[in-house]
Each structure stands twice: as structure tokens, then as C-alpha cells.
Symmetry: D3
Subunit: 321 residues, 6 copies
């Protein structure tokens, strides 16, 4: 079966794909006719697809996030490839397909990532910090396995949150080695909790964000995580005003650095400064990686990347070899 | 006894005053000599004062926030009046002075203000909101009686926080009458709690802020108040994710409107929009009132007011009479 | 006759509606065909409508801001309802329809609002201020009855300007009661005149802004109103440099507070500070009201509101009852 | 008599100078003693000066903006030269000094400048524009001869406003020659009126701004000039809404280009765009000239110049000769 | 043959035009059909055009920047005129058309402009500056004849760069006459080189920018020009650290004035201040001229102009005549 | 000999110190008297010191950056310790003091750091990049040993530039291990060259910046480094337009990320994104380390740190132990 990333203009393709998005739209004809505007995906990428002249049965058959088998022709439309679908059907058990084979996932197994995070948590020496971190990991639960780290900015795939967290833990360990004045416990705890409330802020399925939750829109993941820490402290019988509890809340609250980026306070602990810049370094390089991943083999420039000052990334070919 | 606001250049004065600030400084002479750089206050205003050639006994006798009896001469120094002190002594019980007569206070009795706030709280129909508000009022405790509303921006006097809250409740009631789509319960709760954590953010004495607390600097009053609500909900056995709890947290978190002004989320409930603008209206008019209060009788223009785009206020004399 | 707000997908409707906007467009077919892209309105709301395959007679028959009788089918198109028109005709005198029944109007009668404004003007004690205000009210003339307060931001309906002005007078009176240092005359005069030159800046019909006038684009309503005050003073034989005249111009010029919001000077009179924040409070709450008004019964979130930091408003259901 | 700009450390000087600023200050000694902190000026520059141990007679003898004869010693104090005065007396008629010889003036005679402006005004073909410009020139009166163009930014000297206006007229004529689509009449009128209301905004004496007037602070010179045009039109019986009157007001209102720089509307006429950039070019180059003028012969860098992004200017020596 | 600017709705036209842009698009019909979306141009302006139902032969025949003969009908589509093409063919030698007759060019012959620039270069007295300028002119080569000054902002036509440079030299000469402290050599050199590296930053054909070059995107014309000066100095055996070389690089680097506009340093030489404001004056007035050029005879307002704060320009009719 | 950091109020001290700054000032007495306002330093920190009643011999004896032996008394002056000097003399060879023992230096030997940088340079595989980097290291010469990385922001000590570069190379190697798409050669080259032109931008002695050079002020270290690369390419016979040369210039030019921070272009290569964020991470954590270094043992909060949003850093005591 052909990977989406290797489709070329004009060829006919047949294969199993994930129906990542299925929207009924209407043509501009008089009178307008209904058609399906679809996004098909596999682990190599995505492609826009059209299914024309749909029946009411079709409308009740196909929905976002299901697996389908399609046959169609690849066409160039407004400088981009899309698939004109001739035949489409739902996948049946006999097809023996697993949806997880069709989505983009972190390059490391989710279970491995979560185990690494749990390991880092258990290595925290400060008993109170460790118990708060464990409480929050438990509260996030299975969502830690599959949630993406964002809706679209960076790490927007299955396991993205765990992957981002896990990489930051590696960088944090390296930097704490360079800078002995950093409290390694506090930095670890801050890294694990800084984005953990995205599991409450967002509603995601298979690593794809569907929408922000009501709580997510009204409070935001930064304040939700601060609230989790308060809840953990009270539940565990700790003093919410103790210096380590306040310090951990400070790390979470200040990790976006500036008010206009969503942080109500600015970093005033060494570990808070470290957390912000480790987060930036990892998130921005992941955004570069995502941009490169989305390029076709013949592209020289990626699409503009919003979190990189809306600049595109250029892929060089001939250096250093 | 002469009120400080009516001092004139060249006159001798004798009276009781509050030693609002007492700092030992040294002259630029060779060698430098120690002197006291003081601020004397009564309920009408403040004046800078100097006590030259101080002894080590003096240094152990006079401290900030004590009452003193002084005799001295008013002099013009760099366009401002100051008092050159000739004699100074501590007040004794025989002098029969109460410190509360010497500080600026809200124009309404603190007890009356707190009673008004408690009354508003008890009129909240939503039982859960009411219990959260009561929990937070109890947590603030006696500080609600005397805390100022800010370090220097507006309402920076004894009872300022209660006065600001109480006035906003009046405006809120009026506006809720004009706009029936506003939920009066939620608006009341938001007004009462929006600045209540200033009692934890600041360290104040007799309505004068001494400094920010460690928790205040690392978390800020907005996030502290959100944490109080979480604590109240858990302690009271309420669901922290219930719509009314989340809505109340949203009002508190968004009441500064923009990220650069300290709010991690922006108003998205009708009552949150109302709360922000009622807060602005009352705080800015109080800043005008404070600026007028600080002017001498002969001034036409106040000093620049930081929260009013750093503009001074002009006092007209002849309109409308 | 069915109100537009209660239309549901698939039903046939017949009724009288206001043709709020009538544009001839062309399909993307080859060759393109002309059709009418319409907006129908009644006092409950608006709906997009299409009339396909139009004749040259149709093009000379139907225009914006006329009443029509239509028969058609409600359809869902790109997530929004629209009406596919089967039959349409102009309203005749026999239909006994009045256009004012089909437009959104202020919730209070325009005549009542204008009377309230005139009453407030006549209560101004300062004879010169009063005569300037009366001059400007007379200059605005009948437009005060029907003009909206803005093109789209807030109060964009029949009588919106008078309604906004009238409500601000109520708030102003309440606040002047709380803050005796405010000069009630000057505040009233400022409220009445602050937006009055929108009647020269905008060209509106039945409360709907059609465009900005040339003078409106080149000078803006703030400078036009300042010019009206100069004209009033000269015509009435007053001194343009007198303190009350200058103060009133200051209120008008500074009521947007900042240069980037259109004010060439910043508020430096107590009443100017009050005017700006009363204007904000009323305009922003009206923007919330307008957003709620535009929501369908099943919506939880409104569309993003530009003047509310481009945030949508959430409508809660279950609090406090 | 020695020019101030050529004073050197350690020398004794005797001569006539303008007492540009005379302030009584007090030393930090115990007790403090009164002294005069002075600024002496001649047409070559300024120098700080001290007169120690002053008597009450001295305090009643010496005031700002009078001519004095002084004898003293030049000393280096904190990297800057100042004059320690040994003897000082008021100038008498016998000394035969004219104050105008001691102030910085435009490099062209004020009368010549005003004549050039009047000449440009009389060359305006559009009769209505010409009469408005003449009205405003008459209203400014003699202040046009001596007013500076600003308090401190640029052209802050005797005749500075006329000089700035006159140079801009020269540039405007050159540019109108390059760009025939510019209406030369309107551009001339805009140049003459753009800053003319500084004569009402500022209170100046001999080219030195003493303060902003009340009207200046509350309205600003841009709105005052717009008001003058309205007054001119009404007085001359012209239509205030005529296109040429509105266009001229537009030029004045928009000449600071952006709201945050004080313009309530942005340039939308070709001549308004030209006016803004001609004003910028002349004002910024004058700021450079002023910075160079204030440098001593040995300085390589000027002080930072606020209107030039707060950057200092470097004076090269060896290029091109 | 009819000029594009004088086309009117409904008429049939036949003539030779430049095919400025030729894109194959697809209709929204089901199934979509290919058509040509074209821009036709002559020296008077441009018009959008459609060629429906194209064959594969058509797709291989027509490309951007070729001359064609067309016959078609002018139609109004969405408020703008466009041409529906009935017949189209390539121009043959027999048609005797030159592409240069069909493009917008500077109002002065390109050869004349380049000669004026070379003349200004040869008048530079400082031998080192002159040789650097000559080096850079030679490096730009023939591109100086035809390059536009920008992609779309201003002077976006054949010879636009030379025209902009040449006009700025005229203004620079005039201003240097007004301000003797300006070093005329340095100012001339700065004007000639300030935008010269656009010939490396952009890829243009016949005055139309096709895209940014890789070097242009990664370095920008400001840094490329600074690099050219370094290259010139090394090649010519000059000291790269000499004051005149550094000064010239400073002028080029600082000519956008602020960091957010692309200048890594801010103007600190008198000539750098002059260069920036002369550039602004000429570029902004050219943007006005371009906006007026693009208007039809009946338009009162131009389209919004991005470099003029996104404001449209109003064309007056009746002043001064 | 007592370390400066451990001085306490009131004690007498005798010892060798570096005279880091020596300025002659004058008292405010009448008449003023000359005294020395000094900064004494050792490797533990700095202290302000005064030498009163100085002679003309003193003025010719003591200068900045010399070693002295002093005897004096530590006093508290305006909340800070300073040393009142009783006796002072120059150090003689017999004292056997080396200035390098008295300055703050990088925690690693300068020679080791420079060797590490040279080692990284020699590991670059791309021959052209390697030769350019070697050329620039040679051009910087011995300054690479002792230059600080900035005037005051961070790494402002002996060897600071080499230390910052060396640490960034370590982080870069770690990150390149995490992200295989990064070109390790280009990243290394960019790290080594990103700040190397500070050796031309600044004038420093023993790790202390004295001032910006003329070239530094007019061009800035970013453009100077780009010019060095051009010079290297030409001198080494490389093509200045080759992709690797352009890429390396891009890294240097874009490493401040935004125009307002001094970068004329924004990062558009993966390695440019990495370089900026590695630079940020190291510089900001060094700023934290510098702030902690400057605190006395009893301080809880550091002074505000300009590059950390002007926030102070809090030093916790009790976490994690």
C-alpha cells in the first residue's frame, strides 16, 4: 500500500487510510450539491480528498477518526495534491487494520515515555514534591499516554505530551549538571507538571485535539495545573504555603515567561528561568522537526511556522558531507 | 494642633504626629554625619522632616509607625515644604493619642464596610458560591478590616480594600439592574473575591503596605485567590470542576483583562466583562480622588498619576457654580 | 409569521422580511450566472438568502433596505442556515407592513431616549455649557432618533446612539453621587456630546450604517465634535478659550483615553477619567448583550467579539437558580 | 568678552551673560545654606554656575531671563564645566547690552522668516484656503516672530517656529516640483498651519518655552489648530464642511501620522503624506544640528538625542576633504 | 487598440497585451474543469481575465510574461472589471510588438536614470568612497537598468530602483544645500548603495519581482549590501576598519531606522539620519503615486495602501483651480 | 587578607585590592573639595570606597585597573557597605601580587576554554566552514582568552566570552544528539562565531569592558561578524554566495531572533533556531548565576536582573535536603 507522502500527480491508488476529518460541504453550483471534504491520513502524512455526489447513506456512514478503504486518483489542485475518490468503504474486522498504525506518533513508544517520566518522578528526593508530582501523574492518568502537547503548534501527535516532557527531562538533567546551583528536584517536578494540565484543558482523541474543554477555555492549563498542586497539597495534608509547594506553583505559573504569553507571574527562581528556556528550546526545535516532516521530498522551503515568527524553514542539501 | 496640610513656610509648629517612616542617613559632609530622614503624617497628609546630629540613643528610640511629639520650623526645600525638627520625643500614655487618629482611612468606618461585604455575601442565592465566598472572607479574617487595596496605585490606606470592594458592590448592583442578563450572584461573588488575596500577597500595617510577601511575589494575588477557591471547594466537599466554581475562578483570573496586566485568561463570561470594567471605573476614580487629596490648596495640577497614563490631574475652580 | 431566529433546517417559510442587503453576484459556473446574494432581517435577527437565476427585471426590482414577501426553504450551508428563495415580491400598501417592525431597535422608544437626553441637557446648571449642549443636540437633529452608536462594534441598531447616551447618563448620575468631587454638569455635557458627531461621521439609514462620510474619514467623530463646540461657542458669542469650553472639548477629545485608540490628548480632568470608563463599561456590556442576542438557542459560545479582545462569550445555564 | 563655548577649566572670566535660569537651592550642610544654582547663557551656548552664600538681597535681585555682569572661575565638576561666581551685578543701561544678543536665534532674521511665510501664504491660489491661512497668521500675531518650534526636541530657540516653517516651505516647493500630483496650495497651507497653534499651546519668552498653557495641556496644538480653522471659516463666512476646509483640517490633524504620536486620524490625502514626511525630515535634521551645536570642540559624540531613538550623534572629522 | 484603463463594462475588445500572470486553476464544478486565470497588462494598467475550458495544448502554449493577442468581452464581476476571453493566440514576429511597450516603466528612461546615478557617483570627492560605489554599481550591472525597487510596496516597475535612487539623489542634493553640516559625499554614496543589493535579494524580470533569492531570504538586502562594501574594500585594497568605510556601512545598515523595520543599528551619523528620512519621503510619495495610478477615473478612493498605515488615498477634484 | 564579600560593618581592614574604578569627584561643601570615589575589587566581589581630602599628588598616583594596598574602616552608607580609606599606596614588586588574582574570572582556565573551542573548530567536517571558523578565531586572537561576553548583562568577566562559547558547544553537542536533523558542523560554526566580533565591538581590559569601539557602535557585533565571514571567504578564495557560507552568515545574523533585539533577519534554518535558543538558555542561566554571585550571604533576593524581565531572583534554602 502506498504511503501518502509518496503520492504523485495522476496516479491511481488503493489502500487503507484514516479518515482524519470528514465534513459535508456544498458546491457552488445551482442548486448546490452535497459532497464530502475529507482529510485522509497515514503515519507518513495527510492529503485532502473529495467524494462528490454523496447520498444520505454516505452522510450517515462516514465520520471523522474512522478507518476506510479507498480507491481514487491523485490530482493537482491549486498547487497541492488531493485525492478524487471513486470508491470508499468502512474497514471491517476482516481488513485487520489498527488505527494506531495510521496516526503520527512520537518516535518513542508511549509506554516507554511514561515510564521515563514516572522514573524521573520517583527520583525526586524531596518527599513532598515527589508526592505532589505522583498525585498529578495519577490525576492525568491514561491521557498521559496519548495526549499531544498542543493543538497545532508543536508535538501535535499521539504521545506528544509525554515525548516533550521526556525530552525536557533529559535536557534538564544535562543542564543541572552544568549548573550546580539548580535544584534538580524542583526542576524535574516543574518539567513534569508544566504542561500536564493540557490533559484537562484539551479534549483529544488518538493524539489529535478536537477542541478546548470549557474549563480549558475559562481557566487555561497553567492555572489548572496550579489548582492541581493546591488540590494535591490539601489531599496529602501538606501546607499549601510551604516554600517548596509555592516554588513548584511558581514554576508552573511562570513557565510562559511573560504576561502576554499567558504567565501571570515572571520567573524569579533559578529553576523557573531554566524551565522556561528548556521548554522553549525543545518546543521550537520540535516545531522545526514538524515542519520538516510535513515537507514533500521536492520542497526546499516548509510552510510558514507560526511559533517561529511565522517564518518558513529552509532545508539545505549539501553541507557537511 | 495644626494639620500638616495647612503648614506654611517659615512657621513654628508643635504637635503630635505619626512617624510614618524613620531612616538613618548620612550627610555628604567630610566625614559624613548621621541624621534622621523622616516622614511625619497625620490624617490630612504627610511632610518630610529632618532631625540633624542624632545620637546613638536617638537611633534606638525612634522607629517607623510610632507616635511622636515634635517641635520644629517649616522650611521650603527644593520647592517642597519640610520640617526641621528642633525637639522630638516619644508619645507617652499621658498624651492620650491613638494611632488611628493619625492615619488616612477610608471615608466610611471599616466595620461598616466589612458588614456591607458580609451582607452582600449572605444575599448570594447560589448556595455553593455563597459558601465559597464565606470561606474566603473567613480566611482573610481581620485583614479585611484594615488592608489597603494596593501598595501605592489607589486606595492605599486603612480599610482601602474593604472600601474598594464595597463601592464596587454598589456599582455592580446598579449595573445588574440595567443589564438583566448578568447573573447577580456570580458578579457579587467575583467582586468580593477579586482582590481578597491581597491580604496574603501583601504585608501591611495600619493600612500601609510594608512589602510583598514571598508567596505574593512568586504567585501574585490573582493566582492565590484562584487557589483559595480550590481550597474552599475541596474543604467544603464541592466539585472543583463544577460550572459555578470554574466560573468564579474565571472571574478572578480574568479581572485584569489582558495578559500584560497579569490575567492568564481573558474575560469570556458576561460577568467577567462587567467585573473588569467596574473595577477599572472605581480604581481609576479613586486614583483621581487620591491625587486631589494629595494636592495643596494652592496647586492647580496634581503630581503625575501612574495609573492614569502618568498624567497629572487639573482641578478646575469656576465651573457650574 | 415565523421569526427568523426560530427557523429550522428543512422547513418551508412564507412571510414578510426586510431585504437588508441585496447584492448581485455571479456563480463560478461556466459561463457564470447572475444571482442575488441577500440578507433578510426581522427584529429577531438575520439570515443569508439566495435567489438563483435572476432576470434583468429582478435586478431592477430589488434593492437593499426594502420590504419583501418571500417563500422559500431553510437549508444548512457550511454550518449556517440560509434561505433558498422560491418566490419573492415587493411589499405593497395592501400588505400593511411598516419597516420599523423589521429592524432591531433599542429596547426603549427612540423618542423616550431623546427626551431623556434633552432632559439631562436642560438640567445642566452652567448656562454656557447648557447652551453649547443644546446647540449640538439641535445640530444633530433627527439623526439622534435613529442613528446607531457604531458601524458594528456595539449598539449597531436603530436608536443605538441615543440608547448608549441615555444609559451612560444614568451611570454618570449614579457615579457622581458616589464621588462628590465630580462636576455633574461637565460630566453630563461630556456624555451627551462624546459620540454625537457620529451623526456627521457616518451615513446611516434606519439605524444601519451605510458608510463613513468623507468628513468622517478625514476628520473622525472626535475632532468633528470638538469643531462643533468651537462653532457653538462662536455662534453663541462665548469665549472659545474659557475654562468650561476648553474643559468640555477636553472631555470629548480624550474620551478614547489613548492615542492609539484615537484620542489626541489623554484625560486630565476628573470628569474626563469618569467619562472614559463609563463609556467603556456601557459599550463593552452592550457588546456582550449584542453577542448574546446573535446566538441561537442551542449555542453555548457566541462568535468572537472584536471589542472584547476578540474572545467569544460563553452563556451559562445553571447558576444561581 | 569670552564666548561661553570657549571657556576652559581653571580660567577666570569677566563678562555680560544672560541669566537664563535662577533657582535658590540649599546645600546639604548642617544646617543647609541657601545658594543660587544658575544657568548663564550667551549665543554660543550655556554653562551651569553657582553663587554661594547668598543674602536675602541677592534673592530679591536676581531672576531668570535677566542680563548680568559676572566675574568668576571656570571649574570642572563631575565631568562638566561650571562657573564659580565671585561677583555678580545686574546690567544697567550704561552697559549698553541687548538681551537679543545673548540668546540663540534662528540663523536667519525672524523678520525675514515671517516675510517668507507671508509671501508663501499670499501665493496660494485658492482664495478660501488663502484667507484661512491669513486669518491664522494674524491670530498668531507677533508670536510667530519669536516662538520656538518646541519645548526641547528641536528648533528650541528664538524664531525656531518660523525657521522650521520656512525651511519646510522650501522643501515643499521642491517636492511639489518633483511630484505634479501634489496640490501646491494645500501643501503650502498645511505647512504654514501645522505647528502654528504652538503659539497658543506654549508660553514662551524670547524663544524659550516656560511652560504649557492650560489650553495647550488639555487640547494640544493639533486640536487647537483645527479649532482655529473652524473659527476662521465661520468668521470668514465659509462652509466648514467644504472639501478644501476639511482637507486643510485633515492635514493639520494627521501630520503626526499615528495615533500614538498624537494624530487622531492618519494621512489619507497625498498632501498629508507629504506634509508628515517633510516635517519629519526637517525636524530630525534640525535635531542633529542642535546636537552638533551643543557639542564642545573636543567631543566626538553628542549627548543622546531623544527624538533620534535616544541615540547620540557621532561627528566625523576626516571624510571627503 | 484600447488601453486597459479605459475598458468599460460590456464592450468587446481586441488587442495585444502582456500576459503578466498565467495560472491554471480548476472550477468548483463537479467534476472540476481546468481554466486559465490570467492577468493581462499594458502600460496603462492591468485587468483580470479568464479563459474557460482550456485544452492541454493551451496549457503548453501560454505562460507568464509573454505577449498575446486576445479578443473578448469586458464584464463586471464582484465590483471589478474582468475580461472573458473568446480568442487568444501568441504574438508572432509579424505582429511587430515589443514587450517593453506593455509594461509599466519609470517615467524617465532607464538609461538616463543610470547615467544620472553614475554621474552622481563620479562627483564623489572622497576617492575611497567613490571607488567603493563604482565597484558596487559594476557588481549590480545591468540589473540596475530594469529592477524594481520592491516586490509590491512602491516603485514596483521597470527601472523603479534606478528611479527611486535618482530622485533621492536630487532630494539629497537639495537638503545638503540647506544643511552644510551634511557630508555630501557620504550622503550620495549612501543613497546609491542603500537599496542596490535588491538586485541580489530579488529575482526580477522586466521590472516584475518573481521571488526572493535564497541569499535574499537568508541575509536580506541590507546585510548583502554591507557585505558588498566589505568585498569592495578588500578587493580594492582598502582598510575595512577605516572611518569612511565604516561610515558608509553604517548608512546602509541603519537606513531602515529601527530594528523592527530591519536595521540592526540605528542612525548615529548626520547623513544616516538624512538618508532614512529622504528614503521615507520618496518611498511614501511614490506609494501615493502608485495608488493614484491604479485608480480608475471614477474612483474617489484608492485601495488601502499597506505602507501608508494601510489607509486608502482620497483624490480631490476641486481645490485650487 | 579578608575577602571583600565577607566584610562587615564597623571592622577595620588592611589588604591588597584591585582599584577597579578611580574617579575624582567633588563634595557638595562650600567650597567643594576633591575626593576619590573608588571601586575596590577582589575575586570575591566589589565594594565602593572613598578617599577624602586628596592632594594633587594623589590625583596623579591612582588610576583605574591598578593594584593598591589599603587600610580603612567598613561603614554602612545608605544600606550598602563602603570602605572609608585611611591609608592607600600603590603595590610594588616586593608585594608580589598578580592582578589576575583580583578579578573575577570564568570558573575554568581561559587556556582550557580556548583549547576546547579550537578543538570543536577542528572537528568540523565541512572544510570550507572549518577554514572560515579558523580564520575568525585567528582574527580574534588573544582577545578570545580574556574578553567578557558582554558589558554587563551576563558573563561580564575575564574569559566570559570563551566560557559562554564553550558551554554552548557542550549544549549544542547534546542537542544535536537528540535531534539528528541538525547539521552539527553548521551549529558548531555558528556557536563559535555568534559573539566572536564582540572582540571588535568592545574595548575591554582584564575582562572588564571599558567602552564600545567606534566600529562597534556604528555596526554592532552581529554585522561585524558577518563582515568577517565575507572577509574570510574572499581571503580563502571561497565563493561568498555558496550555500554553506550564506548559511553561516544567516546563523550569525539571526541569532538575536527578532529585529527589535538586533537581528536583521529571523531564523530560517533549523540550526539557526537551535543557536538562538541555546544562546538564550546559557545566557539567562549565567545571568542567574551572576545575580546569585553578587548576593551577600544574608540576602534572600538579588537585585533586579535586567535581562530577566528586570526581576530579582529569590534564593531558596530548604528544598530537597
Amino acid at each position: 500500500m502506498k504511503a501518502i507522502k509518496s503520492f504523485v500527480d495522476g496516479e491511481e491508488v488503493t489502500g487503507y487510510y484514516l479518515l482524519k476529518l470528514a465534513e459535508v460541504k456544498q458546491t457552488n453550483a445551482t442548486p448546490p450539491k452535497a459532497y464530502f471534504d475529507l482529510i485522509l491520513a497515514d503515519s507518513s502524512g495527510e492529503i485532502s480528498a473529495k467524494l462528490w455526489d454523496i447520498s444520505s447513506t454516505d452522510r450517515e456512514t462516514f465520520f471523522s477518526m474512522m478507518l476506510v478503504k479507498v480507491h481514487g486518483v491523485v490530482q493537482l489542485y491549486r498547487d497541492r495534491l488531493q485525492l478524487k475518490i471513486a470508491r470508499i468503504r468502512k474497514v471491517t474486522p476482516e481488513d485487520d487494520c489498527s488505527i494506531k498504525d495510521f496516526i503520527r506518533t512520537a518516535p518513542v513508544e508511549a509506554e516507554t515515555l511514561v515510564a521515563a517520566i514516572a522514573g524521573a518522578a520517583s527520583s525526586i528526593q524531596d518527599k513532598e514534591l515527589r508526592s505532589i508530582v505522583d498525585f498529578c501523574i495519577a490525576k492525568a492518568g491514561d491521557k498521559l499516554l496519548d495526549y499531544p502537547a498542543a493543538k497545532g503548534m508543536h508535538h501535535a501527535y499521539y504521545g506528544g505530551l509525554a515525548y516533550h516532557t521526556s525530552r525536557m527531562l533529559e535536557i534538564g538533567e544535562f543542564i543541572a549538571g552544568q549548573r550546580p546551583f539548580l535544584n534538580a528536584d524542583l526542576l524535574k517536578a516543574g518539567i513534569i507538571l508544566h504542561d500536564i494540565a493540557k490533559t484537562e484543558e484539551l479534549t483529544a482523541e488518538l493524539g489529535v485535539v478536537k477542541e478546548y474543554s470549557l474549563t480549558g477555555r475559562l481557566l487555561g492549563h497553567i492555572s489548572i495545573a496550579a489548582s492541581w498542586i493546591t488540590e494535591a497539597a490539601i489531599t496529602l495534608g501538606l501546607n499549601t504555603g510551604a516554600e517548596n509547594v509555592v516554588a513548584l506553583q511558581h514554576l508552573v505559573l511562570s513557565h510562559h515567561n511573560l504576561g502576554e504569553w499567558g504567565s501571570p507571574v515572571q520567573p524569579q527562581l533559578p529553576e523557573a528561568v531554566a524551565l522556561h528556556h528548556i521548554d522553549q528550546l525543545d518546543a521550537k526545535l520540535q516545531a522545526v522537526e514538524d515542519a520538516l516532516f510535513s515537507m514533500n521530498d521536492t520542497d526546499e522551503w516548509s510552510a510558514p511556522v507560526r511559533v517561529l515568527e511565522n517564518k518558513p524553514i529552509y532545508r539545505m542539501r549539501n553541507i557537511g558531507s
